[in-house]
Symmetry: C2
Subunit: 213 residues, 2 copies
């Protein structure tokens, strides 16, 4: 039972709905939302159905109600604290973006780094030495961490996080992390993503005519 894709789409729908609301719309239809989100209307109805979200026959969906439902699903109202491990290029950018996360009620409450020169505040976020991480996680009930560390130390740090009680990791290190099944790991390899776009844009077109990519 794999629901990660559903969830990702729901989040995308929410993003579009927020824009629709800002534009002053009150209602959406699976058709209009689908066009905005780049998804088929049937897919949207299926996704909603799966999470028990109901619309109005003939009347589409009330944006405010939809957003309420989605926010309920994703726990919008509670502020969710996360930590950041590794305050290099990417880590720094994420720390600086924190107010963007905050709008969605996600908040980087602390950064951690092995490098002592990084131990300072960045954008109001305290950056602490790696050693205090486990205690911080336990004391603050942190369940999710963002890893932006070099590949070489990534698995070790992942183990530390798991031992400290972390249940989900968003990983930017170019390595496939190994962790117990119950820990959710999302590996984001920006280099690979760029490379796949380059490949699809340049090479994958004249192979067999229509190589959807």
């Amino acid at each position: 039972m794999q629901i990660r894709n559903n969830i990702r789409r729901l989040l995308q729908y929410r993003m579009c709905l927020i824009r629709f609301r800002e534009l002053g719309f009150e209602r959406v239809y699976s058709y209009s939302l689908g066009r905005e989100a780049g998804v088929s209307p049937e897919q949207i109805r299926k996704d909603f159905s799966r999470f028990g979200i109901k619309g109005n026959k003939r009347g589409g969906y009330l944006i405010s109600e939809l957003l309420d439902s989605l926010n309920y699903i994703f726990g919008k109202n509670e502020l969710q604290d996360v930590i950041l491990i590794g305050v290099g290029n990417i880590g720094m950018a994420l720390a600086r973006y924190n107010c963007g996360f905050f709008k969605r009620r996600k908040y980087i409450v602390a950064g951690f780094d092995i490098d002592p020169s990084k131990i300072r505040k960045i954008n109001e976020i305290p950056v602490l030495p790696m050693e205090v991480m486990p205690r911080f996680v336990k004391e603050n009930g942190i369940t999710v961490g963002i890893m932006a560390v070099p590949a070489i130390s990534a698995q070790e740090i992942c183990n530390m996080l798991v031992n400290a009680g972390i249940k989900g990791i968003m990983n930017f290190a170019p390595i496939v992390l190994k962790a117990p099944r119950e820990v959710v790991i999302e590996n984001i390899n920006l280099c690979n993503v760029l490379e796949s776009v380059i490949y699809c844009a340049n090479y994958a077109r004249d192979d067999l005519g229509v190589l959807e990519c």
Copy 2:
């Protein structure tokens, strides 16, 4: 015919193979590579098969040969120039990471921004005003761009890129870009990714027992 997933996995395999090589290994087996890449052995053989990559019955795969094949597929040898639009938080981080891209023969050759205060060099990369982008793209035969701009201006900039002749876009703006079918677009919404990890880590576990996420 959808091959984006295959490609993504191949890139992941390559990443693992590079590590294996660094560790001094000469051969891999679908089994060992699979464990490292978090993929089943059959999947690996299928992926290789699809791209005409052959191994040795009983002898597995020679890492050097595999890497040659993969580098051939992904055009490792030619240096691929890309441009960056938007030099804010994320854009800056990517520009600073350029040497990492360079190792893979991908290189951000220029950044562009509307904000005049951003017009300067970052990490050897010239940042130019937005207006000169189309000419730059045409004169340098750029086919792929990275967008790290605010959502509000994203679609407009996407259109500019497409008009200038760009064939692939890696987009960090929180919006689903619309472009002609032949233009490859990869939307990366970091906020949504984080949120999906949080959801899977915190909520999706006690629903039906085994909610694989």
